[in-house]
Structure formats: C-alpha cells, structure tokens
C-alpha cells in the first residue's frame, strides 16, 4: 500500500518539492526531473516485480524494465534480479543515476497477469505515457481479482483426470478430484500462514495423506492412484522448468536458487505423504 501511494504522487508534488530548496530555477528543474526519474524507475521496477511474483522468468522481468527505461529516455539501464531480489539503475543523459531495489515475494502463477503486464510494457514502449497513467494501469492490473472458481474447477480437473491418466478408475478419479478441491482451498488460505513454501507443501501433503487414508477406510479406492493424481497439483513443475531456463540463459544464480527450492519443495511433498502412508499402512 505504501509503495502504491508513493508511486501515485502527482507530478505537481514533485515540482513543488524541487522548488522548495531555494536554488536557481535551472537547479530546481533538474532536481524535479531527477525526482520524476526516480518515480518512473520505481514504476518500471514495480512492473518487473509483479511479473516475477506471478511466474515470469528472470530474463523477461529484466528485459521489460530495460525496454521501458530506454523508451522513457534513459541512456543506460542496468538490471539485476534473482528470484527474490530486484535492483535497477537508470542513467539519464543529463542527470545522475537512479537506483531502485525491491524484495520480491513469489505469490504463485498467474499468466493472465504476466500477459497484461507484458501488454502494458509493449504499449509503453510504443507510446510512452505519463506517470499517472502508468501508475493507474499498474494498479488496475494488480487489483484485478483472480477468478477463484476457475482455480477450483481447474484443480478438480487436474486431480481427477491425472488419477485416471496414471491408471486409477472412475471412483479414484472422483475422490482425487474432491481432494484436489481441498488442495486448492489450502493453497489459497493456508499458504499465507506458513513460514515457507516447503513447510506449506509438507503440511498440505500430510493433511491430504491422512484424508485419503481416512477415505480408504470407507471406500474401496486405490490410494496410490489418488495420491499420484493429487501430487501433480503440488509438484513444482513450472518452477523446475524456469530454473532450467534461467541456468541456460546465464542466470545461473537464480536457476540454482529455484532448483534448490523446488528440490526441497519436492522433498517436503514426499515427507508429507510418506508419514500417513506409514502410520495408516496404506
């Protein structure tokens, strides 16, 4: 919220701030322009950060900030990003350098949002618009609500279909689909309460394992098939693929970080499912 309010400062405020120092008009104008540059860079970095938070690759976020910076009129752009950190320095022809950094907290995959941010950056590069319009458009993308029914229906389809895909019968598919709804619910509500992704995936696998074991007491389901179908929803496939792409595209540090995180994440899932399997003798 603070960031948003900061970004939405009007150009008038910036000019007023620049005129407050009692300097010559040329110096004041220069300072006001520097302030404007700082805020514009802050908005460009917001666009890159939102992309990273919603599942984009490192190079895409860096390239987006770079292109927007050059479209704004920068003489040089230096961007550095890893999975949870983003720093950008913009050098203008007449003024000094501006640097903005952000701590990035990955929130999940939302390709529609990544796509809208892409479109925003393309529009900006084609016809650079003013700070107010850019801030408004970023806010409208950020504030757009995700269709939760779409996520629930998607989870239901993934759980049930992949259970049958791996060899389960219709009953296994139905049970797996219903369990997938619970996974989706936990991803939306429990994740924010957990200290880390690894712990969340351990905990949700543990809960799912006990639930499937409990259902197995009353229904003749193939627990292995139900678990395998639901594992597909939990496995960090996109993260692993982005890690490989990052390493290949010379973002070795980011790639290794993502790969390590995804391996711990996968380990958390395995531990979470193994405990109920062991205790309930499935």
């Amino acid at each position: 919220m603070t960031v948003r309010r900061y970004n939405r400062l009007r150009a008038d405020d910036i000019t007023a701030a620049g005129q407050g120092g009692g300097r010559s008009s040329a110096a004041c104008r220069s300072r006001a322009d520097e302030n404007k540059d700082q805020r514009m860079l802050s908005l460009f970095v917001d666009v890159g950060m939102e992309m990273l938070q919603n599942g984009a690759e490192i190079w895409r976020a860096e390239e987006t900030i770079e292109r927007m910076g050059y479209a704004y009129g920068a003489a040089r752009m230096d961007i550095f990003s890893v999975t949870n950190y983003l720093a950008a320095t913009m050098t203008m022809q007449d003024y000094g350098e501006q640097t903005v950094t952000r701590r990035v907290v990955i929130s999940g995959n939302n390709f529609e949002r990544v796509e809208e941010l892409n479109a925003l950056s393309r529009d900006y590069c084609r016809r650079p618009f003013d700070m107010e319009e850019l801030a408004d458009r970023i806010d409208s993308i950020r504030d757009k609500k995700v269709n939760i029914y779409k996520a629930y229906i998607g989870s239901l389809l993934v759980g049930s279909m992949f259970t049958v895909f791996f060899g389960g019968n219709a009953l296994d598919g139905v049970v797996s689909g219903l369990c997938a709804l619970l996974i989706c619910f936990m991803q939306r509500n429990l994740k924010s309460l957990c200290s880390s992704n690894e712990f969340f995936y351990f905990l949700s696998s543990l809960i799912m394992g006990f639930l499937i074991g409990f259902i197995h007491l009353f229904l003749p389901i193939n627990t292995a098939m139900v678990i395998i179908g639901d594992i597909m929803l939990l496995i960090p496939g996109l993260m692993m693929m982005n890690a490989i792409k990052d390493i290949f595209l010379d973002d070795t540090l980011s790639g290794i970080m993502r790969l390590t995180e995804s391996l711990f994440w996968t380990g958390g899932i395995a531990c979470g499912f193994i405990i109920p399997i062991f205790i309930m003798g499935m």
Binding site: A56, N118, I153, G154, L157, V164, M240, M241, I277
Partner: protein, 150 residues
Amino acid sequence: MTPLELTINLTTTFIGTIGFTMVWNLRNRDVFLGAVNGIVSWVGYLIVNECTGSVFAAAFTGSVISVVIAEILARIRKTNATQFMICGIIPMVPGGSYYNTAIAILNGDHAGAAAFGSSTAGTMLGIAAGVCLANAFIYMMRIAAGRIRQ
C-alpha cells in the same frame, strides 16, 4: 496399449492440461491451445517411448516438440511462450514414478527405488535437455534473424 486405453489416456491428458491452464490462470483464449500443445507433446512422447523404450529419449522429444509449438503459438498470439511450454511439458512430469520411488524407499526396496528413481531422473533430465536444446536453437535463430534484418 489398447485403442480404448489410448483414448482414455489422450482424453485425460487433454482435460487434465486444460485443468492446469485454469489453475495457472491462462487467458481463456489460450486455454485450448495450451491443451493442444499438451496432447501433441504427449503423443510425441508415447511414439518415441514405444519405439525406443527409453524414457529419456521420449521426454527429450516431447519437450522439444513442446518448446517449438509454444514458440510458434507465442508468435501467433503475441504472448509469452512459457505458458504454452509448461502445458506441453506437464503430461510428461513423472508424478507416478516419483511416488513409486518414495514408496520403494519407505519399504526398504532398494532395487525398486533404483529402478523408479532412475526412471524419474531420466524423465526429468530428458525434459531439461529438450527444453535447453530447443531454446538454444530458437535463441540462435532469433539472433541470426536480427542480424540479417540489420
């Protein structure tokens, strides 16, 4: 695989991939294309697996197909290729052998753990190698096209 099993397999792949496109919130107009990439890559995987019996070769071929189709779709739709690429790769993710590896380890079945573990690792390496190689060629072609234009 009997024709009925193949039909069930392909149908569940298609609908399951549509499910993933919804979970990842692809735009509605891209959902069908993502699922098509999923099923085409999976067919490539099945054919190579049937011919060679190697999960590495099958996953490699499937992921190359997935990357190429994703790049073509991204150009047509003016969108990013990753969203289509991951749809193509998801049916190849070795969820089943991953689970079986964990169970074999739990049961102290070292031979089973080694067999399932190597299948899981082979598939993952095949996917990684396919994605890397296909992206490398696409990157080279993009750079070469840029230089020719200049």
